[in-house]
Amino acid sequence: MITTLDVTVPAQLTLALVPDLVLMGGAMILLVWSALRPESDAHQRSVGVASIILAGITMVLVLAWANRYDAGPGPIAVDNFRWLVDIIVLLGTVFAIALSMDDNMRNGIRAAESHVLILLASSGMMLLAGARDLIIVFLGIELMSVAVYALAGLNRRSERSAEGALKYFLLGAFSTAFLLYGIALVYGATGTTNLQLIGGRVAMFALAGSPLLVAGVALMLIGFGFKVALVPFHMWAPDVYDGAPSAVTAYMAASVKAAAFAAFIRVWLEAFPYSYSAWHGALAGLAIITMIVGNAIGLQQRNIKRLLAYSSIAHAGYLMVAIAAASFQGSSAMLFYLLVYTLATFGAFAVVVALTRDGQEAVMIEDLTGLWSVRPWLAFAMAVLMLALLGFPIFGGAGFFAKWYVLEAALQAPVPQTTLAIVLVLTTVVSAGYYLYVVMVMFMRARPDGMPAPERAGGLTRMVLAITVVLILVLGVVPNGVANLARAGRPRIDVDPTLTTLPRRISTAPPDTAPRVADARAAEPNR
C-alpha cells in the first residue's frame, strides 16, 4: 500500500529530485551572488552566463538520470515523460535567459536577479513535471508562479510591466484558490493526494459519479485552465504578455505553459481516467471555445506581443485536444507539440527582441513593414516561425508534425475526438489570417521611405533565432528522433498491486461511455 508522502523513503523523494535540487541550490547561490554586486550590465550578463551554465548542468544531469533510476509509484514520478518535460523546460530556460540578457540591455534593465528568477521558476516547472502527488503539483505551480509574478514586473521603470504583473498576480492567486479547492475536494472524495491512488480508488470504489469528485475535477480543470490560459480563463494572458519584457513573455508563453500542461495531462491521465465521462464534455468545450476565440481575437491584433499571446491561447486549445484524447498517444503528441511550440515561440519572441528599440512601448506589426528589404534573414526567420505556429509543412517545419501528431492522437483515441479534430483544422485556417498577415507585411508591403532599419540584433538573440529556426526546419523533414523520444516519453503507471485483484470496471456510468486508461493502453499497440 502506498502511503501519501512517505518522506522516509529517500529513493522516492530525494534521489528522484536530484536534478531539481541541483537547480534550486544553484539558483540560491546565484541569487546571493547577484545581490552581492551593484546592478550593472556587466554583472547582469555574468549572472546570466552563469545561469545558462547552471541550466546546462541541470540538463546534463537530467540526461544522466533518464532511464537510470526507478522510484515506483511514489509522490515523485520518475519516468521519461518527466525527463522530456524537463528538457523542454530547460531548453526554454536557456533561451529565456539568453534572450533576457539581450533584452535587458535594450530596455535598460540591470537586475541580475532576473536570470535567477527564471532558474527558480524553472525549478518549479521541473517539480511540476515530476509531480505525482497533488501536494507536489501545488508546490510546483506556486514555486513557478511566484517567480514568474516577479519576472512579469521585472521592468521597474515600466508602468505597463507593473500593471501586467499585478493582473497576473491577483488573477493567478485567485485561480490558485480554485485549484486548491479542487484539490481539497478530490482529496475529500478519495482520501488521498497521490495521483495513481486517486485513479485506483475512483475505479475501485466507483467514485466517478461522486459529486465531491466531480466538483473537484471541475475546479482543478479551472485551475489548470488558468495556468495554460484557456478561454474564458485567458484574459490575463494578453495583458501580462504585453506588459512583461519580451524574454519573460516568451518564457511565460512557452515554458510556463509547457510545465502546466505537463502537470495537467499527468493528473488527468493518472488520476482521472476513470472519470472521463465527468470531465470530457467540459474539457472538450473549453478546447473548442479556446481554439475559436483565441484565433478569432488574434485576427484583431496589431501588437505582435498581443498577437503571440492570442496565438498561445489558441495553441493551448490545440493541446487540449491531446488531453481530451485521454491516451498516451495524447501525452506523446503533447510532448512533441510542446517542444516545437517552445522553439517557435522563443524564435518569434527573439524576433520581437530584435525589433525592440529602447523606450518603445510595444512592437507593432506595422514595424515589420517591408522588413524583407532591410533585414532579409530576420524576415525569413519570422516567416518560418509564423508558418511553424500555423502548422504548415516543410516551410513551417516541425510545426506541421506537431499538429499532425495531435490530430493522430485525437483520431486514434479510444473515443475518437473527431469533432475536436475538425475544429482544430478549421480554426487553424482562421489562424492563418493573422500569421499570414505578419508574413504579408514583411514581404509584400514596401518599406516606407524614412522608416529606420531595426538595430542589429544582439548575438544571443541571433543565436536563439538561428537555433530555433534551424531546429524547426530540420525537425520538419526528419522528425524521427524527437518523435521516437516523444513516443517513449509517456507517464508511467506503476499499477498498485492491491488494485490488480479488484474489478476495474466499477463505474456508475454505462461501461461504454467511460473509457479507461486501461482501454487506451489496450488500444495502443504494443511496440
Binding site: 528589404s373 532579409p376 516543410i394 516551410f395 483520431l411 475538425i422 485556417v429 504579408m440 522528425p479 499497440p525
Partner: protein, 539 residues
C-alpha cells in the same frame, strides 16, 4: 531510346531527380542571391541593371534540365503496364507509418510532362516581366515546381498532403510580391480558400491512415495502394471523408461555387503565376479526384445523390463560367472564368465514369493547361507593352501586332474547341462519354460550345479587330523572338494534340480504364457489402 534509358537506369532515379533538380536549382539561386545581395538595390529594376541575368539564367538552365530529364518518361513509360512505374519507396518516418513513395501511372506521366514544359516556358514568360527581386522569384518558381511534381508523383498520402501544401507557399509569395494592384487580397484569399479544403483533407488522411493500420505492427499506413485495399470504413464515414477530400479538391479545381478565389488570383498574379495556376495547379484538383477522392471512396463518390450533386455543380460551373466570362471587362478575368467552365468539363468527365469521358477529362486537363497557359502568356505579353488588361483599352491591334494576333487567334480557337485543335479532342471525348451515362447533363454542357465561342470571339474581336482607334495602341511592338519561342511549343502542342492525340491517349488509356473499372467494381462491392449491413469498422 528506351534501351538507352534502361542502360542509364533511368527509371530508378528519375522521379526523385525530378524533385531534386528544381530544389537544387532553387538553392543555387538562393545562395547566389544571398552572396550578391549587397549589389542589388531592393525593389529596383534588376532586369535593366543586369542583376536578373544570373537567376533567370540559372532558372532557365534548371528547368531545361528538368524538362529533358522528364522527357525520358515519354519513352520509359510502358503504356501496357497499368501498375505504378519507376517506383521509389524509401523509409521516412517509420513510427508514423510514413514513407517517401513516388511512382507514376499514365495520368501522372502526362501531368509531369505538362508541368515541366509549362514551367520551362514560364521562365521565358517571366524573362522581362519580373524586374524586382528576381533571385527570390526564380527560386520560388523552382520550389513551386518541386511541390507540384510531388503531388503528381506521391504514392503516400502523407507525402501527397505535404506536397499539396508545399506548393501553396511559393504561389502565395509569387502572387503577393510580384502581383498586381490587389495582390495582397488575392494572395490571402487564394491561401485561405485552399487551406480550408486542405486542412479537412489532412484530418481525413490521418483518419484513413489510422483506419488502414497494419495489423502486424499496429502502425498507421499511408501508402496509397495499401489504403485502397485496407482502409475499410463504413458508408457514412466514407461520405464524410469523401466530403473532406471533395472540399480540398473542389476548391482547387475550382468547382462552382468554390471558385471565387480564382478570378482574383489569376488577375493579380504575374504572368507566370497565372500560367502556372491555370495550367498546372487547377489540374491538381482534378488529379486529386482521379487519384484519391473517387478511388478511395467509390461508393460515396458514386452514390446517386452525391454523384448527381457533383455532376450538377460541374455542369453549373460549365455554363456559369462561360456566361460570366461573357461579360468580363478584364481579359485575364475572362480567361479565369473560362477556366471554371473548362474544369467543369473535367469534373463532368470524371464523374460520368466512362472510359471516354475519363480519357476526355484527362485530355481537357492537358489541353486546358496548354491553351489557357498560352492565353495567359499572351495576355502577359501584351500587358508588358500596354500595362492594361482591360479589353476595351485595345481594339484593332491585329494590324500593329500581326504575329501576336495570329498566335492569339490560334490559341483562342483551341480554347473554343475548334476541331483540329487539342481543345476539341478533350471536350468531344468528355461529352460523348458522359452522354452515355448522363445524357441530360451532357446535353446541357454541350450548349457551352456556343457560349464559349461567343465570349472568346467577342473578346478577341474587341482586342485584335475593329478599328484601331486608340493612339496609344498604334506603336505597340510585336512579339519578340523570345516570346515566340515561348508560344511556338504551345501552338505546336495545340495542333499536335488536335490532329494526332493517339500517342497521349494510348499512354493514359491503361490508367483511365483501370480507374473506371476499379471504381465501378469497388462501388458495387461496397454497395453489396452495405446491403449486408456490414458493421461500421472503427479505426
Amino acid at each position: 531510346m528506351s534501351a538507352f534509358l534502361t542502360s542509364i537506369g533511368y527509371q530508378h532515379w528519375v522521379l526523385p531527380a525530378l524533385l531534386v533538380i528544381p530544389l537544387a536549382g532553387a538553392l543555387v539561386i538562393w545562395v547566389h542571391g544571398a552572396v550578391t545581395r549587397p549589389r542589388c538595390a531592393p525593389g529596383g529594376d534588376e532586369v535593366a541593371t543586369g542583376v536578373a541575368a544570373a537567376p533567370r539564367g540559372w532558372a532557365l538552365a534548371t528547368f531545361a534540365i528538368e524538362f529533358v530529364v522528364s522527357l525520358g518518361l515519354w519513352w520509359s513509360f510502358d503504356p501496357g503496364n497499368t501498375g505504378w512505374q519507376s517506383v521509389v519507396d524509401w523509409s521516412w518516418i517509420p513510427m508514423w507509418g510514413i514513407r517517401f513513395t513516388l511512382g507514376i501511372d499514365g495520368i501522372a506521366v502526362m501531368m509531369v510532362l505538362l508541368t515541366t514544359l509549362i514551367m520551362l516556358l514560364a521562365v521565358g514568360g517571366s524573362w522581362t516581366s519580373i524586374r524586382a527581386r528576381t533571385h527570390s522569384y526564380y527560386a520560388l518558381l523552382l520550389v513551386l515546381t518541386a511541390g507540384m511534381l510531388g503531388v503528381f508523383l506521391a504514392l503516400d498520402l502523407f507525402l501527397f498532403y505535404v506536397m499539396w501544401e508545399v506548393m501553396l507557399v511559393p504561389m502565395y509569395f509569387i502572387i503577393g510580391i510580384w502581383g498586381g494592384e490587389r495582390r495582397i487580397y488575392a494572395s490571402l484569399k487564394f491561401f485561405l480558400y485552399t487551406m480550408v479544403g486542405s486542412m479537412l483533407m489532412l484530418a481525413a488522411i490521418v483518419y484513413l491512415g489510422l483506419a488502414a493500420r497494419d495489423p502486424a505492427t499496429g502502425l498507421p499506413n499511408f501508402n496509397y495502394d495499401w489504403i485502397l485495399q485496407h482502409a475499410l470504413v463504413g458508408s457514412t464515414t466514407a461520405k464524410w471523408l469523401f466530403g473532406a477530400f471533395f472540399l480540398a479538391f473542389a476548391v482547387k479545381v475550382p468547382m462552382f461555387p468554390f471558385h471565387t478565389w480564382l478570378p482574383d488570383a489569376h488577375v493579380e498574379a504575374p504572368t507566370a503565376g497565372s500560367v502556372v495556376l491555370a495550367s498546372i495547379m487547377l489540374k491538381l484538383g482534378t488529379f486529386g479526384f482521379i487519384r484519391l477522392a473517387v478511388p478511395l471512396f467509390p461508393a460515396a463518390a458514386m452514390s446517386p445523390t452525391i454523384r448527381s450533386i457533383i455532376l450538377l455543380l460541374a455542369v453549373i460551373g460549365i455554363v456559369y463560367g462561360a456566361l460570366v466570362s461573357l461579360v468580363q471587362p478584364d481579359f485575364k478575368k475572362l480567361v479565369a472564368y473560362s477556366s471554371v467552365s473548362h474544369l467543369g468539363f473535367v469534373m463532368l468527365g470524371i464523374f460520368a465514369l466512362t472510359v471516354q469521358s475519363v480519357q476526355g477529362a484527362l485530355m481537357v486537363m492537358i489541353n486546358h493547361g496548354i491553351s489557357t497557359g498560352a492565353l495567359f502568356f499572351l495576355i502577359g505579353m501584351i500587358y508588358e507593352r500596354r500595362h492594361t488588361r482591360l479589353i476595351d483599352d485595345y481594339g484593332g491591334i491585329a494590324r500593329v501586332v500581326p504575329m501576336f494576333a495570329a498566335m492569339l487567334t490560334i490559341v483562342t480557337f483551341s480554347s473554343i474547341g475548334v476541331p483540329g485543335t487539342n481543345g476539341f479532342v478533350g471536350e468531344f471525348l468528355v461529352l460523348i462519354g458522359s452522354f452515355r451515362t448522363e445524357p441530360v447533363f451532357a446535353l446541357v454542357a454541350t450548349t457551352v460550345v456556343i457560349i464559349s465561342a461567343a465570349y472568346l470571339l467577342w473578346a478577341i474581336q474587341r482586342i485584335l479587330f475593329n478599328s484601331l482607334d486608340k493612339p496609344e495602341n498604334e506603336h505597340v511592338p510585336d512579339l519578340n523572338k523570345r516570346e515566340l519561342a515561348v508560344l511556338i511549343p504551345l501552338v505546336a502542342c495545340i495542333v499536335w494534340l488536335g490532329v494526332y492525340p493517339a500517342p497521349v491517349l494510348r499512354r493514359m488509356e491503361g490508367a483511365a480504364t483501370k480507374f473506371v473499372s476499379q471504381v465501378d467494381a469497388r462501388r458495387d462491392a461496397m454497395v453489396t457489402a452495405d446491403a449486408q449491413s456490414a458493421p461500421e469498422v472503427q479505426p
